[in-house]
């Protein structure tokens, strides 16, 4: 006889399902140095590739002389565009509908651009051979300023498409113009602006940054000439998409291509795109018949693979005298570099920049974005944010603070006055989105109370008085932000990348003994999917998370999905996992009914089992059902217990959060000390609070980096001046402040478990929060806005400009 102990609660705890702070299963290998990254892959006979790169930002390539390099013992091949041209692989499509040179075709458009690919027996020989390839260049005038790029007499950068009047996203009005993207109601917005009580205006620049994952990009390509199968192991955030693209551009049938993402040491958007290194390695392997490895170094990663941001956002915000916002206007100039390789859904050339009305009920708005070519590296990826959401959020959160100054109001008061109210959800924004759920006032008020906001403002006033009396050289800044993200791309009806709908997937196989293998179309790069997806499944199918192995990243085994970026894994693949779990449960119910000799409808689900309604002592556990699926002939049912779900989300999810930071600024040195950082996140249903906290800490630290100094800077000749970690600011444990985290829970109404995604929220909210704090420190002196990054000398310059140095 089955007994009734343990209780349902005890059984649920044992599952380590939703809400459990389960330890990350990945960490056993990572903390012991036992991860398996692409550079750990070693194969017999493997060759190594390395690039000859352009030292110039804009130049004609007159000639490439390979002779000396080929003469070096151990050098197998040197590829140039001329070698790729017969295969039609000298250009490749970008994710944004543009094309990009794989190897320089007649000219180079940014410093670090790939010119030739050397293949040698080891990476040392390859590096020596790179030095021996002689390239003759003729320098051309360089354009690094996106505004100057549109001057009538600006040098034409993309001669290949100079006469093309129509681009992938509509008309082009200048050879260096890529697209114009417009959203909202221009006439209505202008009318409100014209008649408004108050209009605040500003140019908000979000400088060029870089995701800088600790592991750089790389791959091992292996063409098996016997069976005709190409295998590529690589740092791919979207392995299935890479397979399809590889098939389309190489002509190799898709079933003969296997893409594997092994352990990935951070992606943050940098590993979404397709890079010349992948194509060249594949070609080199096809040509040589042996595996070819290419792994870029840090300088190559920072200077040539995808950057992020580089948006110049001109804004106007209108309000009534008592602070009710009436309209928002934004024109963005987007610097895309030499090729448009943005990783955005096809119909959104500026990503979801139209979330720039943020958390506020703004009746009318207008957004236009001009994409522009310059002599900089291509990219424009979502660096720990959904597509262009951190730009949008930074824009609106700065505009709100600037408006508050104009209205002589506290920035919190202005926010509370304009938040979308809880009873307005689902909320239709002026720029076209339907926000699923939210409760902004509750979140903000919880934070204000926790940090004693009024007390902080009093302290700030005292400090300011002391500063004015000459007792201190430090000013206190308080930063407030309230962000609304838009993640989980996305509904196939309007979200695709190169025509591939942005659904995601999960395939579950329950083994006879009741353990499980689940495979998903996503790929973890540190997010802990093997931990959290097992938790979702544990709660859905009643099998302990420890008995569920989650596999991702091998296109031969995983179901098709669009990968991991833009906080889409939980909203899309997580939903697929829950839905596949429910299919398993539906079949399990039928098996249990047959075993218990009752009708399906007489059973009810009870944590880890089906029990007879009204007779809980009569039940079958999932373990028993699993075994039965393999050894009983259940009439009308196929043997086995497997399910696949492809989930097309009905809407995006809209996580939000309220952040407050407090910092002290030394006006003489520009040093910033972050004294307090309080982050409340609402990501809907919380799957694993410990992982959420880790994600929040990581995202906030990247926000600290971006605000306080992380920058890809170019001089006027287009040289990257921040190409190593000496100058590209990557904070260490010493620079990272202490964080206090908090949450509210407003589930997504359309997601099967109500989860919204969290990995990127802290970066989105953190940047505006900290930049607001820096600007706030100087507000009392009439200061309005300074561009990021707020590194020492730029902060010093604010103080200098305000006459604070005597």
């Amino acid at each position: 006889m089955n007994d009734q102990t343990p209780t349902a609660t005890e059984r649920a705890e044992k599952l380590q399902g939703l809400g459990c702070a389960r330890k990350r299963v990945e960490d056993a290998r990572f903390t012991q140095g036992k991860g398996n990254y692409v550079d750990d892959i070693k194969m017999p006979g493997m060759l190594f590739g390395d690039f000859v790169r352009s030292p110039y930002a804009h130049a004609r390539v007159i000639s490439v002389d390979k002779e000396a390099a080929l003469a070096l013992p151990g050098v197998v091949a040197v590829l140039t565009a001329a070698d790729l041209e017969p295969l039609n692989l000298h250009w490749m499509p970008t994710l944004a509908g543009d094309k990009q040179m794989v190897l320089a075709v007649g000219k180079v458009l940014f410093q670090g651009q790939e010119v030739a690919f050397v293949v040698a027996e080891d990476r040392y020989i390859a590096a020596d051979a790179v030095e021996l390839v002689e390239v003759e260049y003729e320098e051309l005038p360089v354009v690094v300023d996106p505004f100057k790029a549109l001057d009538p007499d600006a040098p034409v950068l993309r001669e290949d498409i100079a006469d093309q009047k129509e681009g992938a996203h509509g008309p082009r009005r200048h050879p260096n113009h890529i697209f114009t993207w417009e959203q909202g109601d221009e006439a209505a917005t202008n009318a409100v602006l014209a008649g408004a009580d108050v209009v605040a205006e500003a140019m908000i620049q979000y400088h060029r940054c870089h995701p800088c994952p600790l592991e750089t990009c790389g791959c091992v390509a292996s063409m098996d000439k016997i069976n005709g199968k190409l295998t590529v192991w690589g740092t791919f955030q979207a392995p299935h998409a890479v397979r399809t693209i590889a098939s389309l551009i190489s002509g190799i049938a898709e079933h003969n291509i296997r893409i594997v993402s092994p352990d990935i040491g951070g992606g943050f958007g940098n590993k979404v795109g397709v890079y010349p290194g992948y194509i060249c390695s594949i070609v080199a392997s096809i040509v040589t018949g042996v595996p070819v490895k290419w792994v870029e170094d840090r300088i190559e990663n920072l200077t040539a693979t995808a950057f992020a941001r580089d948006y110049w956002m001109q804004g106007k915000i209108a309000a009534t005298r008592d602070g009710k916002i009436t309209a928002l206007w934004c024109h963005t100039t987007a610097d895309h570099g030499g090729f448009d390789a943005c990783a955005d859904p096809t119909k959104f050339p500026a990503g979801f920049m139209n979330i720039c009305t943020g958390s506020y009920d703004i009746p009318v708005a207008w957004l236009s974005v001009d994409g522009v070519y310059t002599n900089k590296a291509p990219g424009g990826v979502a660096y720990r944010c959904s597509f262009r959401v951190t730009e949008a959020s930074y824009f609106i959160e700065r505009m709100i603070d600037i408006l508050a100054i104009k209205l002589d109001m506290d920035p919190v008061e202005l926010r509370l006055k304009n938040f979308i109210r809880a009873d307005q959800f689902p909320y239709h924004s002026a720029l076209g989105w339907e926000y699923d759920s939210g409760d902004y006032h509750t979140a903000m008020e919880k934070v204000l109370k926790a940090v004693d906001y009024d007390g902080l403002r009093r302290e700030q006033a005292e400090r300011l008085a002391a500063f004015k009396r000459g007792e201190t050289r430090k000013l206190m800044g308080i930063g407030v932000s309230h962000f609304t993200e838009i993640v989980g791309a996305g509904p196939v009806k309007n979200c695709d990348i190169l025509g591939l709908g942005m659904f995601d997937s999960c395939a579950i196989r329950i083994h006879p003994t009741g353990s499980v293998t689940a495979r998903l179309g996503t790929i973890s790069q540190g997010q802990g999917h093997a931990t959290t997806f097992a938790q979702i499944l544990a709660s859905e199918i009643g099998i302990p998370a420890d008995s569920i192995t989650v596999e991702e990243g091998d296109t031969d085994t995983a179901p098709y999905g669009l990968g991991t970026y833009g906080s889409r894994s939980t909203p899309v693949a997580g939903a697929a996992a829950a839905m596949a779990g429910r299919k398993i449960r539906a079949k399990a119910q039928m098996i249990a009914a047959w075993m218990l000799e009752v009708h399906d409808d007489d059973l009810e689900w009870d944590v880890d089992r089906f029990a007879v309604k009204g007779a809980p002592e009569r039940f079958k556990t999932m373990t028993e059902i699993a075994f039965a699926a393999y050894n009983q002939a259940v009439p009308g049912l196929e043997p086995g217990l497997e399910a696949v779900s492809y989930y097309d989300p009905p809407n995006m999810t809209y996580p939000f959060g309220a952040y407050v930071s407090v910092l002290d600024i030394d006006v003489d040195t520009g040093e910033v000390e972050i004294r307090r950082f309080y982050a409340l996140d609402d990501c809907g249903t919380r799957i694993n609070p410990m992982i959420i906290e880790g994600q929040v800490h990581g995202g906030l630290t990247e926000a600290v980096a971006i605000v306080l100094g992380q920058e890809i800077a170019y001089d006027e000749d287009g040289n990257v001046t921040t190409g190593t970690l000496m100058d590209f600011f990557l904070p260490t444990a010493v620079e990272a402040p202490h964080y206090e985290t908090d949450h509210t829970t407003t589930p997504s109404p359309h997601h099967p478990i109500g989860a919204k995604g969290v990995g990127e929220s802290p970066n989105v909210g953190g940047v505006s929060c900290l930049s607001n704090a820096v600007n706030d420190a100087f507000r009392a002196f009439g200061h309005v806005h300074a561009q990021m990054p707020h590194d020492h000398w730029r902060i010093w310059k604010i103080a200098e400009g305000l006459g604070l140095h005597g």
Binding site: R123, Y124, A127, D128, E131, D297, R298, I299, D668, T669, G670, E671, G709, A713, T721, T722, M726, D727, F729, P731, T732, V734, E735, D791, H792, W793, W796, K797, E800, H805
Partner: protein, 299 residues
């Protein structure tokens, strides 16, 4: 990020090392901790054909104190690591300025390997030890084909990466005269993050008695293409009451001696400004310490 090919040598004595250097000529570089040289080689900004690794030479290691007649000195072997400098209590008692400054160099990993000899011989204006050695009036011993000679730290630096060291010479020892008991000291360094070179840094050593400054010495880091020994700044403090006027005069003298260049750390005007700020802070802290220590001694 892969250096050009080179031959590796690992002599066991100083004589063997100088012999190798003489034999291999200017294509050879000595290798100490490698934390300046190897990054340059990886960037192929340096491509020596021979590397002569000094790590097996026992006579280049260690910290010794002698208390001679005309004032004692500290002798530090060139291959002593920055970590060993920090760990030495003997050194911390005699010349506490070195521990204070060494703790602001790079990060612990770099300091486990980076040596004092490499740091002062390198000639990079960003290195912290050269200015420090000038402040302390140290002398460097150079061993070469013509035997041993001594060059004052204040005479050693010519321009970026150009020093008084001849190609065939190895910097073997650093001799630091013991500062007066009870002296005040401070090293103030502004940097962007842990592991960064100075945006501006100032070393100050001074003595105070009866409310007046006895002697004072001031040097600055990364504010010109060499370390800057600001003799006039020291002179402005010596004999003064260390009051506002004296400090202003010292700062003005130091600012006249520097010649910073604009880079990612900021424009020239910013560097001028923070050079003054660092120096003021260093003077204030050194004064405070000297005053405290003088008080302790009279108790």
């Amino acid at each position: 990020m892969i250096p050009a090919p080179f031959e590796y040598h690992r002599p066991a004595s100083l004589a063997e090392a100088t012999g190798l250097l003489a034999e291999l000529g200017e294509d050879a570089h000595v290798l100490a901790g490698g934390h300046s040289l190897i990054p340059m080689m990886k960037l192929r900004l340096a491509a020596p054909e021979h590397l002569i690794d000094l790590q097996d030479i026992a006579e280049l290691k260690g910290i010794a104190r002698t208390d001679g007649e005309g004032g004692g000195e500290i002798v530090i072997g060139a291959m002593t690591t920055q970590h060993e400098l920090i760990a030495s209590d003997e050194l911390a008692r005699a010349v506490p300025l070195i521990r204070e400054a060494a703790l602001q160099i790079a990060d612990p990993q770099v300091r486990y390997l980076g040596t004092i000899g490499g740091n002062v011989a390198n000639g990079d204006p960003g290195n912290d030890m050269p200015g420090l050695m000038q402040c302390l009036d140290a002398a460097f011993e150079l061993d070469g084909p013509n035997g041993r000679r001594r060059v004052a730290a204040r005479e050693f630096y010519r321009s970026a990466y150009v020093t008084a060291r001849e190609d065939g010479e190895i910097l073997s020892r650093i001799r630091i005269p013991l500062p007066a008991p009870g002296h005040g000291f401070a090293y103030e360094k502004l940097k962007r993050k842990i592991g960064d070179y100075a945006t501006a840094a100032a070393a100050v050593l001074l003595t105070v008695s009866g409310g007046r400054c006895g002697s004072a010495s001031v040097a600055l880091t990364n504010l010109a293409d060499t370390p800057v020994f600001a003799a006039d700044a020291g002179a402005a403090l010596a004999g003064s009451d260390l009051g506002a006027a004296a400090v202003d005069a010292a700062v003005a003298a130091a600012l006249a001696a520097i010649d910073p260049a604009a880079d990612n750390r900021g424009p020239v005007a910013f560097k001028q400004h923070v050079a003054g700020v660092m120096l003021r802070r260093a003077i204030a802290r050194a004064t405070e310490r000297a005053t405290e220590r003088a008080a302790e001694q009279t108790v």
